[in-house]
Structure formats: C-alpha cells, structure tokens
Amino acid sequence: MIDQLKTDFDKTITNLKLSNKGIEIRRKSLNQFSENGFPNKRIEDWKFSDLNQIISSNIKGLNFYSNLTSDKVDESIFINKFKHNKIVFINGVISSIDLSHEDETKVSLSKNLDLDEDRKEVNPLISLNNAFTSSYIRVIVHENYSFNNPLIIYNISNNNLKSTALNLRTDIVLEKNTNLKLITLFDDNSENNFINIIQNFDIAQDAILKSYKIDHKKNSNIKYFYNNINLGKNSISENFIFSTGSKFIKNEVNCNLNDQFSSAFINGIINLTDTQHHEIKTNINHLAENTKSYQLIKSVLNDNSKGIYQGKIFVDAKAQKTNGYQLSKALLLNENTEFNGKPELEIYADDVKCSHGSTSGNLDEDSVFYLMSRGLSRQQSKELLINGFLMDAVEKITDFEIKDLIKDLMGIAE
C-alpha cells in the first residue's frame, strides 16, 4: 500500500496546484498515516471496528487519487419539501454552490486547499485526510446573521467512482450570535469506496448550529466521518445522526464545550440490515462551568448487522456544575446481530451531574403480546414497537421541517 500511497500522493498534489508550504504540510501528514496505515482493532478506539480488515475485505485495489471532474447533477434527488441553499459534491468534487436564499454580504466562502499548519492530527485517518484533501469548503457566517433557510450539503456519488479513497473537508464558522441549520445528505450510487470526511465547526458566543447528518441509501461504501465542534459561551450545537445506508460507517464526534453555558446535543439512530456495521463514537469535553451535554442513541439491528456506540464524557476540574447525560439503547432483532458499547465517564470535578445508561436486548415480549391482544399481527406489533423505539431519538430534533424529512426517509407517515 505504501507505494500506491506515494504515487497517488504525487499525482494528487500535482493536480491540486499547491504552495510549497502546503505540500510540505501534506507530506508530513502522509508520513504520519503511512507509519501505521489504517487503524486496526489493536488500537483501543478501533477495538470494535477493525477498519484495516474492513477495507481490505471490501475494497480491492484502493486508489488514493481521483481525477474525476464534476458530473452533471441529477436534480431529482434534491429535497423538495422545503426551500434551501445547496452545496453539491459529486464524486468528491464541488459541482455547484447556491446560497441564493441568503444575504451574500453576510456569508463568506473559501475553497483554498492549502492547509494551515495548526491542523491537529489526532488519528491516522485525519492525517490521511490532511494529506489527500481534494475538496475543501469553508463557510463563514458573519456576526448577527441567521440563515433564512437550511443549507444542504449534498454528497453525491455515481458509478464512475470505484475503489477510491475520497478525502473531503468542510469547515463551518459561526461568528457571534449567528444561526445555521445544516444538513449533510449522502446519495450513494457508487460501490466499494472509502469516503473520509472531516467537518469542523467553530461556534462562537450565542450562536446556534443545528447539524443533521443523513446517510440513508443502501450502498457498499465504507465511511469515516470526523466532526470536531468547538463551542463558545452560551452557544448551542444540536446534532442528529441518521445512520442506515452504507456498508460501514464510523461517525466520530469530538465536542469541546469551551465556555460557560454552552450546550451540546448529540442524538442519533443506527438502523441496519444484512452485514452492515455502523459505529457512533462521541467525545464530549466539558471544559468550563455550567455546560451541558445530552446524548441519546438508538440502534436497531437486523440480520447479521453490528452496531457500536462508544461515548465518553470528560469533565475537567474547572467544569463545575456540569450536566452530562448519555443513553444508548439497542434492539437485537436477529440471533446473528451484535451490539457493543463503551459508555465512558472521566470526571475531575465534584459538583457535577453525570450519568449514562446503556441497554441492549430484544423487543419486550410483553409489549408485543399487549399489542397483539389488541388485534395487531405479530409483524405489525413489532414494526410499531421498533418505530416507537427509534422515534424516541427522532423526536429530539427541534426543527420541524427536518424532523418531518427524517420521518419521511424512515417511511413513517404521520
């Protein structure tokens, strides 16, 4: 793989026309990745998902270089339920940007691929991304501006993309007292690729971000998402993860509550069939007083699928009056399913309220019986209970339009 990496790296940087410094930084990252390659299960964070093994058994001859150019957008896949702004990636290439619903003086964009020095490489996949980032977009929402309509980032792929590692990055900067609803939506029509996406959120004082990540179309791609969220005073970050489409996804959220009265919400559902394998891993760092975090993750596992939730709440000694809550519930509906969890607390302050809970098991037979006694079939009863189980997390979405969109995608009619 090392040779392939080197060749593909040279092709990538030639293609991207970078500054010498930019190339240097990328080369450093490449070396960092090359040292150990894809993480395997001997690394604690990847204990339950051996990415090295997953990639080698699903992708033959992985390329790190892609020379695809922008394809034509199939507009039928756009959400038509509500007006929205669009940034469209096709096969990892930015194909269109439409912010027509917004005041253009209040929003800035940048696509500069020259990375700056201070990007932290906290894991090998971030190094990989830093080395190969081929599409980058930075959205800055200027002070006191609230988006009129949601922004949807479409990540579309078609069958021109094969056995390729795509490395994309988005930075969202919310300046003071701003407001943005963001949906990152995947529409995969490609097979056997590795898609590695970093999203970085800097949320300043009094700003509110609502970010929804939707991966719903069944596909054989392997994905890793790294979300880094920095929260300023009195700011709010609401996140929802809808994880059902790809063969493998690891959704990692690192969230720093840097200043007082900031809050983070991470809710999500994992709903799997066949041999899908999805993981959500969160790291919530309470670094200031009076901060709050809330997490609710619901997993439904069918057939031979595997679900994982690793969640950590860290409370610094400074972060008195922290409120941290974490709950993971999983339904194992088939004898060949598997659920693994590691809900972790690391606490250094005494005046805090932190709790976590985790359950896994089958549907409650008493409830099935109760519904059947009211005339429903076994299948109907189960479906009703499963939907109810998932809805618990969906109901946490505070935006009604988006909540409806997700219910639609789940096939739940109101």
Binding site: L333, T337, P343, I347, D350, S360
Partner: protein, 480 residues
Amino acid sequence: MDAREKEIEKLKDYKYGFSTDIENTRAPKGLNEEVIKFISNIKKEPKWMLDWRLKAFERLKQLKEPNWQKPKYPKIDYQDLYYYSAPKSMDDKPKSLDELDPKLLETYKKLGIPLQEQARLNGIAVDAVFDSVSVATTFKGELNKKGIIFCSMSEAIQEHPELVKKYLGSVIPLSDHYFATLNSAVFTDGSFVYIPEGVRCPMELSTYFRINATETGQFERTLIIANKGSYVSYLEGCTAPMRDENQLHAANVELIALDDAEIKYSTVQNWYPGDKDGKGGIYNFVTKRGLCKGKNSKISWTQVETGSAITWKYPSCILKGDNSVGEFYSIAITNNHQKADTGTKMIHLGKNTKSKIISKGISAGFADNTYRGLVDIARNADNARNFTQCDSLLMGNKCGAHTVPYIKNKNSSSNIEHEATTSKISDEQLFYCNQRGLNQEEAVSLIVNGFCKEVLQQLPMEFAVEAQKLVGISLEGSVG
C-alpha cells in the same frame, strides 16, 4: 518528637501500620530459575509442581507488563525483590499453636485476629498468612469432620495433589497475563479450600494476609473448589506495615463452582495506602477469577477496597454452566494519592446465565478511581441477563472518578442494562445532618455508608460492621 512518638503519631492514620521484629528466612534477592527452585525446595514440593512453576517462568520471559490501566507506576525492578520471606521460627513447622512463635501470635492479636484457641473468633475459621507462608489455620479439626479441606496451599500440594493438579491454573491459565504468570512461577503460599458434594460449610472461612518483611513481594495463591451442591463463604483481609517503599502484592485467586454449588468470596482490603503525600504503600495487582463450571452454580464477589497505593484488580466470573449466576459488589475508596482501577468481567457462555454488578467508587483528596468492566454475552448464551450499576462519589475537585464499561452482546435473546451516575455529597445534605447534631465526619461517614449500602449488605455480619468503620476512617479529613 522521638522515634516512638513518631510511630504512634503515624499509627493514628493507619492502625495496622506497625511492623513485627522477627527473624526471617529469605530466598536470595532476584527473579531467576534458582530462586524458583529455592522456593519449591524449601516447601519440599513434588517435581510436577516445580515443573509447573518453571513452565510459567519460561512463559513470563515472553510476556510484557501491561500498561493500559489508568494508574501508572514507576518501573518495578523485579531483580531487586525478595520472592520468599518467612519467619525463621516456621522453618521446622510448628505442629500446634503452642509451638508458634509468640511474636506471631501477638501480631495477629494486635490485628484483631486472635489465633489462640480460647480467643478465637466465633464461627470463623482463619488461615493466617504472614509474608510468604501460612502460619496457622484454625478450626481445622472441626471442618475435617465434614470432609472440608481448609489448609495452606503448601499443605494442599503435599496432601491433596490430585485436587491441586486438577484445578490449579484451570481458571487462570499459566500464561494469562504478566502478573498472573509471575505469580504462577513464584507463589509461596495461600489458602486451599475444598467443599465436598452436598456440604454446606458451617462457618465462615477466612484468610488473613499480612506483609511484614521489607523489599518483599507477596505472591499468594488461593484455590477454592465447591463440589456439587455445596456452599462456602470465604473472607480475606489484608494489612501491611507502613513503609516508605512501595511493595508488590500479586496474588492469584481461583474459584471453581460445580453444579448447584455456591461460593461467596468477600474481601476487605486494607493494605497500607501510603502516606498523605503518596509515599510508600502497596501495589495491589491481583488476579481473581471464578468459574461457574456447573449448571445452577453461583459465584459472588464482594470487595471493600480501602487500602493500597494502587489497586488494580478485576474479580471476574466465567458463567459456563447453564443457569449459573455471577455477582460483583464493590466499594473502592481512594483518598490522598491512592489510585484504584478495579471492576469485573462477566463472561456469559451458558444459557440463562445472569450477572449483576454493583460498584460504588468514592474518590477524595488527589485520588483517582476507575471502574473498568466487561460484560460479554456469547452467541450461544440464550436469555442471558446482566444488570450493572456504577455510582461514583467525588469529594473535592482534585480527584477523579471514571467509568469505563465494555459491553458486548452477541445474543439477541439476552439483555444488558448498564447505569452509571456521578454525584457529590451536597452541602444541603451535610447541613441537614449537622442540624440533627452530627459533626462533619459523622455526617460524611453516614452519607457515604448510605451510598455504599447495597454492597455492605453483602458482607458477612461480623465484617460488615468493621467495613462500615473502615469506610468512615478512610475518608477522614477529606471534607471541610
């Protein structure tokens, strides 16, 4: 202040901190084949035992010390330790208590564990282990009548080789991990218990471990076998003198419960924790594992961990027999610079197996307290159930409380529930207790004992009271 006054002053904090001035027989310093042969030889062990030890030693050379645990410790120089130390007076095996060195009798009396016939604790048979050897076992005759074997490990190797051969290392394999393997190579003594089929052991069995010698590691080995339909409740207590050096204690405990048998194993661990600045204290690196081998068997671990500079242990249950039950009740209190990384593993292999984990961690001063646990439900463990509750209490913001549970479920008919909370003693609660006339320390002790209640209830009556006091004492000076 003269030396004696100093000694008295020190003992206020840790009343077991005295040392006994007694002449020792020691193995030469260091870890090598010769020392292992020395230990085996002085115990007049059969060849199979020595071979077993040497095999472990071979394996040890290929193993690395683990380093994933939270508490880090300075590198231990294994060549700078004594692996065997015994009171000289034990060289010619005293035949009865009357022949036992009075200094030893006095030591145990001071520890509150009288060995003499007339002063014995009612209803508790005691095996007293001093450094590397068992010095006395009480009530042996009475137990013998029921066919119960309760003796030192050394004696068991001589007298009951068939049982030892069959079960030693059957739960903790020779090459399990670094410290367990080290123990297999150099273990010196410990307790052996065998309860025959259908017998309910009429009294609590207890081992009292005492480290006395300096620069000595204690490596004891305990093996308890409960045959079909039998029951035994076993308790261990531990103390050590206050010394500035860190001392290593790496014990292995194996429990085997056959069909319908039940073993209840309780620990009150009060090794010397080091002084207020974190100097000295015991490294308590212990491997404890129980195998519920038979159907309907049950193993229950209860531990009150208040001592040691570093505690690092995970008393575990392998639930192999169908319908078997594993339980783990734990209180871990860390104060000053103490560190604890403790918890359990519940491995569900059989059908309808159940496990329950109740862990209470209390952290004060500059201490760090980690619960680390694994609940693993195998593919075939139909209808397995686990319930886990981990509660942490923090006192002050220089200490830490951590919960690291691993949950693996591969069976869809099984059910795992895990709950954890972290809290503090609220000022309002303290005010309420103060207003009812309790002073600060009484109030803290009361509230903490309330917090620990579910675990304290599991201890045998005689020790519950002692443990409650210990809970209060361990936290003295940590609030206000």
